[in-house]
């Protein structure tokens, strides 16, 4: 059970969810439309993935208005930030272990 793949997070591992988490990890918060365009997916696909991440407690969804226009903002929760950092650390270990295999 020492291999770093055991420390990968199953929720974050899916490519689109990983991309959403990576985008939000660099932000305090981001508009739904910005995340959609950055990750290059459709509204409905992003909604579905955000819902999964929200259920896992990794993403917080905030709704509001700018003037009269409704806006949705996404941000990582502290648990989401920590989970993403751990997931990336495990990915780095997998890369490093391939570069320097045990003697």
């Amino acid at each position: 059970m020492n291999h770093p793949r055991h420390r990968l997070d199953e929720v974050i591992h899916a490519p689109v969810r990983f991309a959403v988490m990576a985008t939000l990890a660099a932000a305090d918060r981001a508009e739904f439309a910005f995340v959609r365009d950055t990750v290059e997916i459709t509204d409905s696909a992003l909604s579905k993935q955000v819902s999964t991440l929200e259920k896992a407690g990794y993403v917080k969804v905030t709704k509001g208005y700018v003037g009269k226009r409704p806006r949705t903002w996404l941000s990582l929760t502290p648990a989401g930030r920590s989970a993403f950092a751990s997931h990336c650390a495990a990915l780095r270990e997998i890369v490093d272990s391939a570069l320097s295999p045990p003697a």
Partner: protein, 137 residues
């Protein structure tokens, strides 16, 4: 349990870095925000030294700058991680320096450019330094 080889792990990390670079690039609006805030703080503080008419002009200038910056900020789609904490620190620093220049200035240095000009420079520093640091990140 997810299974992934080293090549896929490396590709995922590269993808994350690319996405995060986009976020950082789109968050650069805050550099412009701070530059305008610093310039506004400089002008508004300097105007205070010109007597009663200067005070009215200062209030008008500062009100317009703050209103325009608020409208600008609220329309931005993303802010970088740590933005809220850094912004609070800059505004708190500005407030402390503004009070430190304003109080003695109003009481003892009305109309004295030798007080208000350096004071305006000091008051604008947090925003200009913040803009410089933000531009480097």
């Amino acid at each position: 349990m997810p299974n992934i080889d080293a090549e896929a792990a490396g590709a995922a990390l590269t993808r994350a870095e690319t996405l995060q670079r986009r976020v950082r690039r789109r968050s650069r609006w805050y550099v412009r925000y701070l530059q305008i805030y610093g310039a506004g703080a400089f002008v508004a503080t300097l105007l205070l030294g010109l007597g009663p008419r200067g005070v009215a002009a200062s209030v008008a200038v500062w009100g317009a700058v703050v209103a325009a910056l608020s409208a600008y900020a609220v329309r931005q789609p993303v802010s970088r991680h740590g933005f809220a904490r850094r912004h609070a620190m800059i505004i708190a620093s500005w407030a402390v320096l503004y009070a430190a220049v304003l109080m003695p200035g109003v009481l003892w240095f009305e109309g004295e450019l030798l007080w208000w000009l350096p004071g305006a420079v000091v008051v604008s520093l947090p925003a200009f330094l913040g803009a410089r640091l933000e531009g480097r990140r």
